[in-house]
């Protein structure tokens, strides 16, 4: 069994598989997906090579004369095929993997928490079971975000819809679940324009759902991730860089950063006057270059709910796996992706395990990639001790693709 959690140094180990024929410091290696730009390099696992060199990754996937290599170093360090090499993130931190995955491999795609990443699915605000077309002021009395956040929504009336706006003969949209997102509000909206009066700079998206299907069973999560024009900046998304030699060796180049002395991970009792916390308990992680005991709330990479409704740390946005049975029985990597191809005269299945004491809202649907919902498809489901199993089968000559219509609206783990 691999390590599921690691704290401290986030070093990864690799074997060189190819080298540039002319330029030292450019090579490919195993498990390259774990290597982030600006990771430090070591040939012995404990120190940088050479004297007073601060060697790090300047580029991922550089291409030379048509050949792409995994990494390019800032120094021409010579390595040979089959050498063992090491890459280490600049600051210590925490990594937590999915089941059946070794966290020390450092593959972010298979990690549930990776403190190397600046922006994660931290929940700023959330709501569920909403059946109103009115605007939702998710900010409340919390401090306002410095950006329009990504709001993940789900509601019963989503997808294609036809309706009639004003004097129009018909209105059609591919996505009825429309909203107007701002820094502080989530407003149900619709695409609705009187065609004979749609002139000049008129816009179709308007607040309200007077014509399109009403809001029904809306759930939403406001994440601390900017997602609006003007806010997609390095300052909002990237770990800090500097030309300062602070914390590095003597031969430093621009755009690398290593600030020593910060507390990044705290498990237990936290006091942070900048964030307004005094003796709150849980697990807290700050972003690179900041100290968990003094950083701003937006610099938290991870936090625990304080139990105060108006506070803005509500846990993590996570998704349940849809292959629980194979995770348990055959060490598959958990995935939330419910896409299955079923050839004719065969069947496919997904399984979801809900251990929590709260009953889930479950719905399922499926589609045939070529002809929509198909009458030749049979569907069955069962629930036993929290394990939801869904089986689809078809005897048609077509191939059934279970794609986005195949939804189980059971994705929220940070339920409160």
């Amino acid at each position: 069994m691999g390590n599921r959690t690691r704290l401290g140094s986030l070093r990864t180990t690799h074997t060189v598989t190819a080298i540039h024929p002319s330029f030292a410091g450019i090579f490919s290696c195993t498990n390259a997906q774990a290597i982030k730009k600006y990771s430090t390099f070591s040939s012995n696992g404990t120190s940088n090579p050479g004297s007073n060199l601060y060697t790090y990754v300047t580029a991922r996937n550089p291409t030379y004369s048509g050949t792409t290599y995994d990494v390019a170093l800032n120094w021409g360090i010579t390595v040979a095929v089959n050498d063992t090499v090491y890459f280490n993130w600049r600051e210590n931190g925490i990594q937590v993997s999915k089941a059946n995955v070794d966290a020390t491999a450092g593959d972010t795609r298979k990690l549930l928490l990776d403190s190397r990443i600046r922006r994660r699915g931290q929940i700023y605000a959330m709501g569920s079971g909403i059946n109103s077309n009115n605007a939702i002021a998710f900010k409340g009395s919390k401090s306002e975000l410095g950006y329009i956040p990504l709001v993940v929504t789900g509601e019963t009336n989503s997808g294609e819809a036809t309706y009639s706006t004003g004097g129009n003969d018909s209105d059609y949209t591919t996505e009825a679940s429309q909203f107007i997102f701002t820094k502080t509000t989530l407003t149900p909206a619709e695409a609705a324009a009187d065609a004979d009066n749609y002139d000049g700079t008129d816009k179709a998206i308007v607040a309200g759902r007077s014509d399109a299907p009403n809001v029904a069973n809306l759930n939403f999560k406001v994440l601390r991730i900017p997602c609006a024009y003007g806010y997609m900046t390095s300052a909002n998304f990237d770990n800090p860089t500097t030309t300062s030699a602070n914390g590095m060796g003597t031969n430093t180049s621009p755009a690398v950063y290593k600030q020593l002395g910060n507390k990044r991970v705290l498990s237990g009792k936290l006091t942070n006057s900048t964030a307004g916390y005094s003796n709150v308990r849980g697990l807290y992680v700050s972003r690179e270059g900041t100290d968990i005991e003094s950083c701003n709330k937006d610099d938290f990479l991870f936090a625990s709910d304080t139990g105060v409704i108006n506070d803005e740390m509500r846990g993590e946005a996570q998704n349940l796996a849809v292959n629980y049975s194979t995770v348990v029985s055959s060490s598959a990597v958990p995935t939330p992706v419910a896409v299955t191809n079923i050839n004719s005269s065969s069947s496919g299945s997904i399984s979801v395990f809900n251990p929590y004491s709260l009953a889930p809202a479950v719905s399922t649907s499926y589609s045939n990639a070529s002809s929509g919902q198909n009458s030749s498809v049979s569907f069955s489901s069962s629930v036993s001790n929290g394990l939801y199993s869904f089986t689809f089968s078809t005897t048609s000559s077509s191939t059934l693709s279970l794609t986005s219509g195949f939804n189980i609206q059971l994705s929220s783990l940070a339920l409160l």
């Binding site: 599921r4 959690t5 997906q33 996937n61 925490i94 937590v96 993997s97 999915k98 990690l111 549930l112 600046r118 994660r120 699915g121 990504l150 993940v152 209105d171 059609y172 949209t173 591919t174 996505e175 429309q178 701002t182 909206a189 695409a191 324009a193 009187d194 065609a195 004979d196 009066n197 749609y198 002139d199 008129d202 816009k203 998206i205 900017p226 024009y229 806010y231 997609m232 909002n236 498990s267 849980g282 697990l283 139990g307 105060v308 108006n310 846990g315 946005a317 996570q318 349940l320 796996a321 292959n323 958990p334 995935t335 979801v352 395990f353 251990p355 929590y356 195949f406 783990l413 339920l415």
Partner: protein
């Protein structure tokens, strides 16, 4: 006070390993600063020895993924134009050819932009509103067609590239007078695989 955080195995009889942090127990407290909700007990398990309290974070075997940002981008598009954004997710992550990353796109009208940043934004969609007025011989009125066509489409071309298409066609050649819209878009691509069938979340 209930236990809040487990690093390792939840209980000796449990297979849950990793990091688990409980959520709240709303049966105790009122959610105010003076009286916060209590913490749920992270050690509470069900008949299968699985943690059954509400969680803020759970790395149990039933959890499929989270939201780590892999790539971000923004830009503007004139009507009836499109652009490819190359994020190299497939190149930087060990994945099958058919795999695609989860992503989110939001867009704004020009009038939503103030001091270089959006004040409002919306989800991708296609919309068509139509009205046809039949010819009236007595009034000598010709048949007229009116349309309102707006759309922002986004889809992955492959696992390294995503295409954004501005289909703000305005009147689309009909009898009303609308020249369409320029859009201002923002894109986030996640490390997580796309669990939404190619649609933006």
């Amino acid at each position: 006070m209930s236990n809040r955080v487990v690093i390792g195995r939840r209980t000796s009889a449990s297979n849950d390993r990793g990091l688990m942090i409980s959520g709240l127990d709303t049966s105790s407290g009122s959610g105010t600063s003076a009286s916060p909700y209590a913490r749920a007990n992270v050690l509470s398990v069900n008949a299968q020895n699985k943690g059954n309290a509400v969680h803020n974070f759970d790395s149990g075997e039933h959890v499929g993924g989270g939201f780590h940002v892999f790539h971000y981008a923004q830009g503007s598009l004139n009507k009836n134009t499109n652009t490819n954004v190359t994020h190299n997710w497939g190149k930087d992550n060990e994945c099958a050819t058919a795999d695609r990353p989860l992503f989110a796109l939001r867009w704004s009208y020009a009038s939503d932009i103030s001091s270089g940043v959006a004040t409002k934004c919306y989800k991708p969609m296609d919309y068509t509103g139509e009205l046809q007025i039949e010819e009236d011989e007595e009034d000598g009125q010709d048949e007229e067609n009116f349309q309102a066509v707006e759309g922002v489409d986004v889809q992955h071309v492959n696992n390294n590239t995503i295409n954004i298409d501005n289909l703000m066609l305005g009147d689309n050649g009909a009898d009303n007078s609308h020249n369409g819209h320029t859009i201002y878009w923002a894109l986030v691509v996640f490390y997580e695989d796309d669990w939404n069938g190619g649609r933006s979340i």
